[in-house]
Symmetry: C2
Subunit: 390 residues, 2 copies
């Protein structure tokens, strides 16, 4: 239970949360509006902190020490299609199939506004922009994943729903947000094989760098999907795996006719100078080689984190192949109270999911961070959940 002083702060946080709609208020907003608040660990933001360290090393060396940063900020960046040719060799995809976005959210918006026509099917729970960004004339249907089946996407009811309602657009987030449920490559392929009659299938792989197949942690890549399934648009955020959400960078791979239609009347200079710098760094062999061990380290830290979370009896932790976990508070406390106590008493910012469409119960989403931060989260959680009496 919160004490009166904590309750006053909690009221302010609740107000800011309401003002942010279905998203969490930014750290900046929280800290600038609530001066008494200290955030030590941001376990709300789903990123690999080791990758941010690596990016900052390159950024400092390439742009700050050389003073090249001025050019990056002063001049117009390159155009979308010019950067697409830069990415093309790394992705092994022709540049005319690549579309770059000011974050994956811009790409989601572009795909939904331009290509979703009448009906769209989305799994629940989901990343809310997928239904919020739909045009008002598009009907949004939901396929609700059940917590009793660990939020697994069950092929047959999903396909039944599609056969029954014939949506022109279907969204598959893999791994899914907020639960981290993962559809293995072979199953995804067979699923897409059943969706060839759907005009647009959006496969959002924003968290795929944290996923792994049975027996191997090798990087999963589905950049070639569009060749077998021309109706598939693969969406990829750079914010999570590279820990650079502030830069706003994402890309998509899709049929060249779609890229052409998007570029025909917009998206000219939507990539900032810094995002351009990031993409030019991203394609470098040296950068990829330094990044890979950090990706693997984060996967290991996340697997270890799961074991520790799973041993806490007051929560049920759902299986995830991403760098976050959906946990259900089952000791009678509300998810809001637990999240607020974590924040106010321990400076740990998590995501209470009581406003998430399709989630029935007391859910909190917690990001995996560094090994030390994860240990601190476990310790704080045990205190708040009273596993450890204080």
């Amino acid at each position: 239970m919160l004490n009166p002083q904590e309750n006053a702060l909690a009221d302010k946080i609740r107000r800011l949360k309401r003002e942010s709609g279905t998203h969490s208020p930014s750290i900046y907003t929280l800290l600038s509006e609530i001066h008494d608040l200290k955030i030590k660990i941001d376990a709300c933001f789903l990123s690999n902190p080791f990758a941010t360290d690596l990016f900052m090393k390159y950024f400092t060396k390439d742009l700050i020490e050389t003073q090249e940063i001025r050019k990056v900020l002063e001049f117009y960046p390159s155009q979308n299609q010019s950067l697409a040719s830069t990415l093309s060799p790394l992705l092994n995809v022709p540049s005319e199939n690549i579309f770059l976005g000011n974050g994956a959210t811009e790409i989601i918006q572009a795909l939904l506004h331009r290509f979703a026509k009448k009906k769209m099917l989305i799994n629940l729970p989901t990343f809310s922009p997928y239904y919020e960004f739909a045009r008002p004339d598009v009907e949004v249907l939901f396929n609700t994943l059940s917590k009793h089946q660990d939020f697994r996407l069950d092929k047959s009811p999903f396909l039944d729903l599609i056969r029954q309602h014939r949506p022109d657009t279907v969204v598959i987030i893999n791994p899914n947000n907020p639960d981290g449920g993962y559809i293995p490559k072979s199953m995804l392929n067979s699923l897409l094989g059943e969706l060839t009659a759907v005009d647009n299938v959006i496969v959002d792989e924003s968290f795929v760098h944290f996923a792994y197949e049975e027996g191997s942690d090798a990087l999963i890549s589905n950049h070639d999907l569009f060749m077998r399934f021309p109706n598939v648009s693969l969406v990829k955020s750079m914010s999570k795996d590279f820990g650079i959400a502030g830069i706003r960078a994402g890309y998509a791979v899709m049929a060249k006719e779609k890229v052409k239609e998007l570029l025909k009347n917009g998206y000219l200079w939507n990539i900032s100078g810094l995002a351009e710098y990031f993409f030019r760094l991203f394609i470098k062999d040296e950068f990829q080689k330094s990044y890979e061990p950090l990706r693997l380290r984060h996967i290991r830290a996340t697997k270890d984190f799961f074991k520790l979370l799973n041993a806490i009896p007051e929560i049920k932790v759902y299986p995830s192949k991403s760098n976050f976990f959906l946990m259900e508070v089952i000791n009678g406390q509300t998810s809001d109270d637990v999240a607020l106590e974590l924040l106010l008493r321990h400076g740990i910012y998590t995501r209470s999911c009581n406003d998430k469409k399709g989630l029935e119960g007391q859910f909190i989403r917690v990001a995996s961070r560094s090994e030390e931060e994860n240990a601190a989260i476990i310790h704080a959680l045990k205190e708040v959940l009273q596993t450890v009496k204080v």
Copy 2:
């Protein structure tokens, strides 16, 4: 005339130009594709270089020296409406009338895609995205401004065209790009008074910080237009006056219903962490006070530049109240040759306008830069135009 070696480089430049459509290739693209090229002065990019100096000073002090830069790049930025409330006091406009964009080009795209319905009227010459971004189902009509009238917007044929064709959307860029023609405040007001039957009037003031009314160089502000004319959307780029095109930052002031419609299904995190930093700096009194003398200095440098340009007999320079000039080469040389010689022999990058819709003749647009750079441009121009024999 170009020599064979210059001609080989010129061919590469022409190819890059073609690939960039109606825009100039970025400095990065030019330099990385043509290794023999040296750009000393970028007089293609229309910005105030003194403002970039000022921004870099704050950026270094606030973000680099403190290492705060990591937070700006790592975390999600604030949402659009939260930043609108930050800007509200400075603009003296309620936050629900403010929409922030990833550069003014994103705002232009949003306004045209969402609100232009069937017919749209644009003055020519213009900033090409205004007609390129129109939806394919929108008819674009042009009101061609005549070089024989110094590209002045003549009220009566303009209004006749509107009465005859009844466009739902009308675009006024003030000062206009690429000629710099300026409609004084009182005339703009009377013009807008005649356009109340038009659904959307877009007034693009991206260059207004460089403009001045008769007898005063005071900053011109039309942020209150939407109160008298609810059909007006005022668009403002930050790239030019603050010299930060790489950051991608712009805003618009419009009817709150329009802002609401745009935010209802998109534009959630379209402002990057660095653009957020810029906007938070922009509203500071201290920053505004340091910026104002630099704005005035740039206006003075530009007025002096005009006098020197105007004294060159081989060109006709058109009146401009922005920080650039449209000049017509009248000595028989082509604008392409002059621009290429400026670039290849003097490292001065200007904009040959032979591909600009609505311009008949040999036009080059040249930006005003610092006093020293302007002097170097004048010197080079005289050599290329053979005012001075070499």
